[in-house]
Subunit: 426 residues, 2 copies
């Protein structure tokens, strides 16, 4: 015998108690997605590396698990869903009814330093609308994220959805004199604003090439809470105005969903992925103790990048790791105990076959467990209690002579003798 | 724009219509497992390669997807569940209540030549009992496999569960003069009996070293249908007698489950995995057109192999690929259409916000879809039909003046005007 083999770092074993929690979260995710008319889909866990050669952003690319198969092809264990979704849309672009409203609840891998809120293996729900430019779609997916948070018991005092628009931010940066071809680079720096000290952030902007005055101006805009009231549209580029319009549309629709109170404009929020083109959103705990709980946005060019025709899309992902941490922190994790409708116990080992027959009768309607260890009655009852049996059927020699068994209700403690024949009708 | 990127060979895209089928199968799997008192669990998709260094059998090892992570560790994308399960049992061996009754419905990868019934990415339900030597556990897991087949609509004319016992087969081989340390090797040849022509099988036995007479004797036993009636126990080794006892126990219990009629003794069925120690079983289509639909058995040494204490276990896996082929072949695949409770249509784009408000009212109880493309009413109704809307709410200027909307029942064609206020009570 060798020593125990350990699981891979940054992964989790889901014993039944952990799996019950995971299933609880998955059920809320799925239920909300179905409520808004989304259909479940999935794609392969492993994709060709070409799917990530453009537009994913350098952070994700540096974290990908890659492998070479026996045919020499370079493959990736998917770190995110959107490129697979774009590939599947591109493949059947003409046949698919628009808008395409898809969701998936799946497993992903990223090579990260395991730390609070970040694991190497994690799950996400992805919710996407493809095939429409209407900002109502942006609002609808954002509404599903908020509804998930509300279903889990969070309130507006605990979480906030930060929204922004890439085109608007681009317009603002142009207005400040940044060259068009350096905007993505600058956005990546802005993305770090909340993660570093202000001094370091200003230094990064200076290193990028902004002067002291521009840095201050930029900082003022990024931190402005009333930008939309104060903005002078005429000073924005055409793209900036388009972004402003999209953002205002999103706000208007969030109000009609009755969910605007959970949202907040944040011009410094850009998301660390390069394929977003318009509105972007992130769900955060208000105290900013954790990383983002969910994030997404518009990606109007992505389907074309993977070989389809240009096709507008908007979507987001919510991960399980930060969500669970946040649920525990705020006491939102429900108690989920094991339970079973019936446990069939026997007074003697020789009655095992009879116990099986009775279990089979009850399994027509109920979930039923049975002793598989030839244990004495007292031990069986202890086990029945540990699996959360609601009722126990005791099969005994004496009762069997009258074709009866004893049923004990574990909640009330009440016992009754019942004809085996009648178990079919329970 | 570059050309379309193709998915990896041997994988499947699950568009909503395929995902509905997969979910249907998963629901039957899960429901049966819960009915018999099994709890869902899961482990990481990627495990350390050490978990497969012993006891898995050469076929699986040659098919594993391996990768080296950035820390230089050699990892495996799991080709099967049982080693993960054994690792998790070993890790908490003392705390876990016995018997451990676990199931999982998960994704696996094997590098195989994609062909009918074999893909590189596939799903399995795994059902296991760990911690008891009682053959009642062997019978119970076999019963769950049969119940799944029955739930999917298959009859005893369409599938059969072949059962055997490794110890008994070992005893028979000893009796025929095979050396003890060559039995596993010979079992691997016997495993191929059904997959090659008889002539080739005899040749393989001859190459192994059996003489003509022994080959004929062995063939007679392997094909015997009434071995259990004819066997002379006294001539068997002690281990052979133990195996015979286990097999008879399994048959006895399958009878008490009322499911023996779906089973058949097959002494030539050994399963291509080395860790099985006692009873083994496989589910097959009767015509043997397909590969095995499910397979498993007793693995009493496996937990010790991965670093735990010796601990008896029994389990099986059923895969999705052959099962789906078999369902289609026998016409058991149900029609699963997309459907939604309500679709909210508008007579004008300006009413989109009102439509959202009404959708939100109905979403308290129902699944509701809405137009996200600013389409004309006729196109909205066509879309509503394509998503299987049961009822359509039409939001129009005139009706809104009376705080009403029109509801059309798509099944009966009936239309009625309803106060928006009343939608809360529907």
């Amino acid at each position: 015998m060798k020593g125990k083999i350990e699981k891979v770092r940054g992964t989790r074993d889901f014993y039944p108690e952990e799996k019950r929690i995971q299933n609880f979260i998955f059920d809320v995710w799925r239920d909300v997605a179905l409520k808004y008319g989304y259909e479940e889909m999935d794609g392969p866990l492993i994709e060709p590396i070409e799917l990530w050669h453009e537009k994913s952003g350098e952070e994700i690319e540096s974290q990908m698990y890659t492998l070479v198969d026996k045919g020499g092809r370079k493959l990736v264990i998917r770190p995110e869903m959107t490129p697979t979704l774009a590939r599947m849309v591109a493949q059947r672009q003409r046949e698919l009814t628009k808008p395409i409203k898809w969701f998936s609840i799946q497993r992903f891998w990223r090579y990260e330093k395991p730390q609070s809120g970040r694991l190497r293996e994690f799950w996400q729900i992805n919710i996407d609308v493809v095939g429409t430019e209407s900002i109502l779609a942006d609002a609808e997916i954002t509404a599903t994220a908020i509804e998930i948070m509300l279903r889990l018991g969070f309130t507006e005092k605990e979480f906030v959805v930060r929204i922004n628009n890439r085109r608007l931010l681009g317009g603002i940066l142009l207005q400040l004199g940044v060259q068009k071809n350096r905007i993505i680079e600058l956005c990546r720096i802005i993305d770090k604003k909340d993660k570093v000290a202000e001094r370091n952030f200003r230094q990064m902007l200076a290193d990028f090439g902004l002067d002291e005055k521009t840095i201050s101006k930029l900082n003022d805009v990024l931190e402005s809470e009333d930008y939309l009231e104060k903005v002078d549209e005429k000073k924005l580029s055409e793209e900036g105005r388009q972004g402003l319009y999209e953002l205002k549309q999103l706000i208007k629709y969030m109000k009609s969903f009755g969910l605007w109170k959970y949202c907040k404009l944040d011009l410094s929020m850009v998301r660390g992925i390069d394929y977003y083109t318009g509105n972007v959103m992130e769900v955060f705990d208000i105290s900013k103790e954790f990383r983002a709980i969910a994030g997404g946005g518009r990606y109007d060019d992505l389907v074309a990048v993977v070989g389809g025709e240009r096709c507008p899309g908007v979507g987001y992902a919510m991960g399980d790791v930060v969500l669970e941490l946040f649920m525990r922190k705020k006491g939102k994790m429900p108690k989920l105990e094991k339970e079973i409708d019936f446990f069939i116990a026997t007074t003697s080992e020789s009655l095992a076959e009879k116990a099986v027959e009775i279990a089979q009768l009850l399994r027509k309607k109920y979930n039923v467990d049975i002793d598989l260890m030839n244990r004495k009655l007292a031990k069986q009852l202890k086990y029945a209690d540990s699996v959360g049996a609601k009722k126990i059927v005791i099969v005994g020699e004496e009762e069997l002579k009258q074709n009866k068994v004893k049923i004990k209700d574990m909640k009330t403690g009440k016992e009754e003798l019942v004809l085996i024949e009648e178990l079919k009708m329970i």
